[in-house]
């Protein structure tokens, strides 16, 4: 069970939070072209590496926050808990 570093509650089991996905800016709806808007809706970088992403501490403080996580290893740049180097595969 992955521990997600909530800035308020401390590390929490990921199942206590809602995953909000890749953090990306909302284009200005007044000026956005269809391609820009649909890029915001649908296209994702989906990197195998560091990703800025949003989480909602659903069972705890009920705050949205943004963290960086390495999607290849699930390590948080928070800094990580001591000693928790991870392998990507099992």
């Amino acid at each position: 069970m992955l521990l997600v570093p909530c800035p308020n509650c401390g590390p929490r089991n990921w199942s206590d939070l809602r995953y909000g996905g890749e953090s990306h800016a909302r284009p200005d709806p007044a000026t956005a072209t269809p391609l820009q808007w649909r890029g915001y809706l649908y296209l994702r970088d989906n990197p195998a590496g560091w990703l800025r992403e949003n989480w909602y501490c659903r069972s705890g403080c009920r705050r949205w926050f943004t963290v960086e996580r390495n999607t290849a290893t699930n390590e948080f740049r928070d800094p990580p808990m001591p000693g928790d180097k991870r392998g990507a595969k099992a």
Partner: protein, 950 residues
């Protein structure tokens, strides 16, 4: 071989010879002693065949005499695949052999062995293709070969509660190293959980004949008893997941059948010892060929003489110890073949109860027991799960950890070799290191967690690993002799199969595993994984290190589904009025987590009563958000498609929410209770999601806005009073509000005292299309308010109505339901509410898509009436083009209207069919096609809304 109970007890024995335990084996009466495993009791009683192999139905006897013994899977009552080498005997047990037909000793499928050379690995991929129509028959025959026990359809899901724990250090394995590590960590101040797979701590010391080993064990046990270490026996650390999240299966618990313990360990010490590996040679799976560990366990733990005359193949000191034990209890040791001198066993053969050992070179030795000590498998499973890739050391002939994460440490035989003292010293250092590191983790956790006791001082440094590494004893690399034999005993896969698979091109470990199914069976590689790799390496002409290993996947030890499931927590919500519903003949329906009244016997009568008198419905699950603050209009303008800036105090407005892709998300009414105080309602099913949606906008996009949102869904009971006599009824029970149409108009909200309960508010809206007052009363008085309304309206004909009646009435009125009449692609304009989509607002959720949607050809929600008033097309009936199969839409809601006496529907249709009067063809589920007409209005009943506004 003939096994029997020794005449005199061994000093290490765990059986209580004074306590007899009776049980049944294949229907016959047997007995053993308290402390016996099923297998030891049967062995002591002279049984030598315990199961039949999967494919060839070869007879199988004891191999390792422990949990991992693949030949000792039995059925105990309704419990299939019980490990007879581990499960303790209990009085009255009904034990049966599995995978035998018709019986253990006369198994007809053993004939498969005769055609074995045609049944090479993967043979089924190459045949049974023609004729194609016969394949289902072949398949049924193949399925009869499925091994394993039987499921009893009446087995209930018994008590299996789980628990969490947060120890500083978990030590997996309570052999001497594990105990020593646990003691050292505990002495250093850590909270330690020591988990032992066997029924008692001590590891190999338990079945060692040496006096010094017994003394060491006594000393360790005494120290453990005196310590604060929590010890779990008959339990296995079976999984290591992210952040040292450990799955521990506790097989013997005073109450639970089997308990899953989920431990968040700050440090994990892996000390499972080593698993003895079988040696591959012809006949290595015959009854009477056993590992040295099995021989020593049988003799020293259960006082069982494993045979009369033994040949011992010893490549290490465990083999020597087995030879000495055999000799000690009077088994004639005919020969010790020393594997360290390049001598090899080549085959085992002979009559069923004899084992004739054939040595490389051809000499033969008559015996009834062949004890094999050919080497070890390092159970690196937990290390694999921690992301480590163990590496093979050819000099020691086993795998070792390469670079596990810092919160996982290794001790005992998995870490290296040495004298007992050396191993204990290394383990103690490991325990101290674990405690030091756990303290650093604990400090960090306390510092980061608001509720925790403040961490004292600076965070301790991450202790470096300064342990002196253990030596590695040289060991001959013994995998296969000069003959072919069994590799995977569970799956009946031999070395020949693996070599053939590699030659055929399945030459990576993973491909060969998949093709032959080696390591895929119940033993999951415990005994066979290294021999599998070795066979492939040999076929490829490479070393084991070059071929690499296979990945051990969780769980390490199998765990029952019952334990994994535990008690299934499925929260349900009920309104305060539920006791009344239950006392009044309700039929409930589960809607999401809510238990709701569906009807009270006759929904059509409930509809008629609402249309003629007055009815009450409990709509408590309606989502309710209390909004406070000066910026609420801005928030509402952002969330809803329509405008909110000018909503006056005391007014209520309907709104629709769309997601950023323009898809309809939710709808409901919001009322203004005070200058900076609003109540928003959402659909019942959307309540939780919309709250998160609102918080997301406020926290991430508009953090500067002053709005506080509080979910108050269950703070109020919500009662809709609907019907022509609703005003009369509400007027009778309320104080502080003028309910006359002049003073309290449609789409207005008032606060009131209802039935003596202060702090209620009510608004005039309704889903049913009737004159309605929706009363929201503090939940702690909800039942009282409901009962007061019921009592006060007796003469008015008041009655309850449920969801079904409401669904009928809303359909009569043509109100769509988000998620039923809309779907995951329904954009705002499809609902027919385009006038409520105000594209001249600056910004709102989904605005760009809704603007562009005006250019798109979208399906439209319309009211539909079948031309035959008596036919109600099932919901999801398709609307098609004439007699073709072209789909033009579908019926999304349908009911027989008690009010109109005819069938009524809502549906989604292509835009060219949306005009009133358009004729449609509806395909009924029966296959019949009927005609239907699109209506001018969504409302089938009272389209002008006169009743509602009355």
């Amino acid at each position: 071989m003939t096994m029997s109970r020794l005449g005199t007890a061994r000093p290490t024995e765990v059986v209580d010879r004074s306590s007899k335990v009776r049980f049944r084996w294949n229907g016959k009466r047997f007995s053993g002693f308290e402390g016996d495993t099923i297998a030891s009791a049967l062995a002591a009683a002279g049984e030598h065949v315990f199961s039949r192999s999967m494919k060839y139905h070869r007879p199988r006897g004891i191999l390792t005499a422990d949990y991992w013994d693949p030949n000792l899977m039995v059925q105990v009552g309704d419990d299939p695949n019980v490990r007879a080498g581990h499960r303790l005997l209990e009085a009255g047990m009904d034990v049966r052999a599995q995978n035998v037909w018709p019986s253990l000793h006369r198994d007809i499928k053993a004939l498969n062995g005769l055609v074995g050379r045609f049944l090479t690995a993967g043979f089924y991929y190459k045949t049974f293709m023609r004729p194609a129509w016969l394949w289902p028959t072949y398949e049924r025959v193949l399925a009869t070969f499925a091994p394993g026990g039987r499921i009893d359809p009446d087995t209930p899901h018994r008590y299996h509660d789980k628990r969490y724990t947060h120890p500083d250090v978990v030590v997996a394995g309570a052999g001497p190293a594990g105990i020593e590590a646990a003691l050292a960590a505990s002495a250093a101040g850590a909270r330690v959980l020591l988990v032992e797979h066997e029924h008692a701590v001590g590891g190999h010391l338990r079945y060692s004949s040496s006096a010094s080993a017994r003394a060491a064990l006594a000393e360790l046990r005494a120290a453990l008893d005196a310590s604060d270490v929590e010890v779990l026996t008959d339990s296995t650390v079976t999984g290591r997941y992210e952040d040292n999240w450990l799955a521990i299966v506790q097989r013997s618990h005073p109450i639970a059948v089997e308990r899953l313990i989920k431990a968040r360990a700050k440090m994990l010490v892996v000390a499972p010892g080593l698993i003895e590996r079988p040696y591959v040679f012809a006949g290595n799976d015959r009854p009477g060929v056993i590992t040295s560990g099995a021989a020593r366990r049988l003799i020293n733990l259960w006082g069982v003489r494993p045979g009369e005359r033994a040949v011992v193949f010893a490549a290490n000191s465990a083999g020597d110890a087995a030879a000495a034990d055999l000799d000690r209890v009077g088994v004639e040791v005919a020969a010790v073949i020393d594997g360290r001198d390049h001598r090899r066993v080549s085959a085992a053969q002979g009559s069923p109860k004899a084992v004739e050992a054939v040595l490389a070179g051809g000499s033969r030795i008559e015996a009834d027991l062949l004890v094999v000590a050919a080497g070890w498998t390092a159970p690196t499973s937990l290390l694999n799960m921690a992301g480590d890739r163990p590496v093979y050391d050819p000099a020691a002939a086993r795998f070792f950890a390469s670079d596990p994460p810092g919160n996982v440490l290794v001790a005992g035989g998995l870490a290296g070799d040495g004298s007992l003292d050396e191993l204990r010293a290394h383990a103690a250092a490991t325990g101290r290191l674990a405690a030091q590191r756990a303290a650093a983790v604990a400090h960090r956790l306390q510092a980061r967690t608001a509720r925790a006791r403040p961490a004292e001082g600076a965070e301790p440094a991450w202790a470096p690993d300064e342990r002196t590494p253990l030596d590695r004893d040289p060991h001959p690399e013994l995998y296969r002799s000069d003959t072919h034999g069994m590799v995977d005993f569970s799956e009946d896969v031999g070395s020949k199969d693996l070599v053939a698979a590699a030659r055929e091109g399945y030459d990576s470990v993973e491909l060969a595993k998949r093709y032959t199914t080696a390591t895929m069976g119940p033993s999951q590689g415990k005994l066979e994984t290294v021999n599998t790799v070795a066979a492939i390496a040999e076929a490829r002409g490479e070393t084991i290190a070059e071929v690499g290993t296979t990945v051990w996947r969780p769980p390490f030890a199998p765990i029952t589904l019952g334990a994994l499931a535990g008690r299934v927590f499925e929260p349900v919500r009920v309104s305060s009025i539920q006791p009344w519903h239950e006392a009044n003949g309700v039929t409930t329906i589960l809607a999401g987590q809510w238990v709701r009244p569906d009807h009270y016997g006759d929904p059509a009568a409930e509809v008629r009563n609402v249309r003629t008198n007055v009815g009450l419905i409990d709509v408590t699950p309606l989502g309710k958000l209390d909004l406070r603050g000066p910026d609420i209009p801005k928030l509402l303008n952002l969330l809803y498609t329509n405008k909110w800036s000018k909503l006056a105090v005391g007014k209520v407005r309907y709104g629709m929410m769309c997601a950023e892709d323009g898809v309809v998300l939710d709808d409901g009414v919001t009322g203004r209770l005070g200058p900076d105080h609003y109540l928003m309602t959402t659909t019942s099913s959307g309540a939780g999601a919309i709250w998160e949606w609102v918080e997301n906008w406020l926290q991430t996009e508009r953090p500067d806005w002053k709005v506080h949102v509080t979910p108050v869904t269950t703070a109020y009971v919500s009662i809709n009073v609907a019907g022509p006599k609703a005003r009369e009824l509400v007027g009778r029970v309320s104080e502080g509000v003028d309910v006359s149409p002049e003073a309290f108009a449609y789409m207005e909200v008032r606060t009131a005292t209802v039935a003596g309960v202060d702090g209620c508010f009510m608004w005039r809206i309704g889903f049913t299309g009737e004159l309605s007052f929706e009363i929201h009363a503090p939940a702690g008085h909800g039942l009282h308010v409901w009962e007061a309304l019921m009592a006060a309206g007796k003469d008015l004909g008041v009655g309850p109505f449920g969801l079904e009646a409401q669904r009928i009435m809303r359909l009569e009125k043509g109100h769509f339901i988000v998620g039923q009449d809309t779907d995951g692609l329904t954009l705002g304009p499809s609902t027919g509410l385009s006038p409520l989509i105000k594209l001249d607002k600056d910004d709102f959720a989904g605005k760009p898509e809704l603007a562009w949607a005006t250019e798109r050809r979208l399906p439209v929600i319309v009211a539909i009436q079948p031309d035959d008033a008596g036919v109600v097309p099932a919901e999801a009936s398709q609307i098609v083009r004439g007699e073709t199969n072209e789909i033009l839409g579908r019926i999304t809601s349908s009911r027989l209207s008690p009010t109109l006496g005819r069938s009524i529907c809502l549906g989604q249709v292509e835009p060219e069919l949306a005009a009133g009067g358009t004729k449609l063809t509806v395909l009924l589920t029966s296959g019949e096609r009927i005609s239907a007409t699109v209506m001018d209005h969504h409302a089938h009943f009272d389209p002008a809304g006169e009743r509602l506004r009355g």
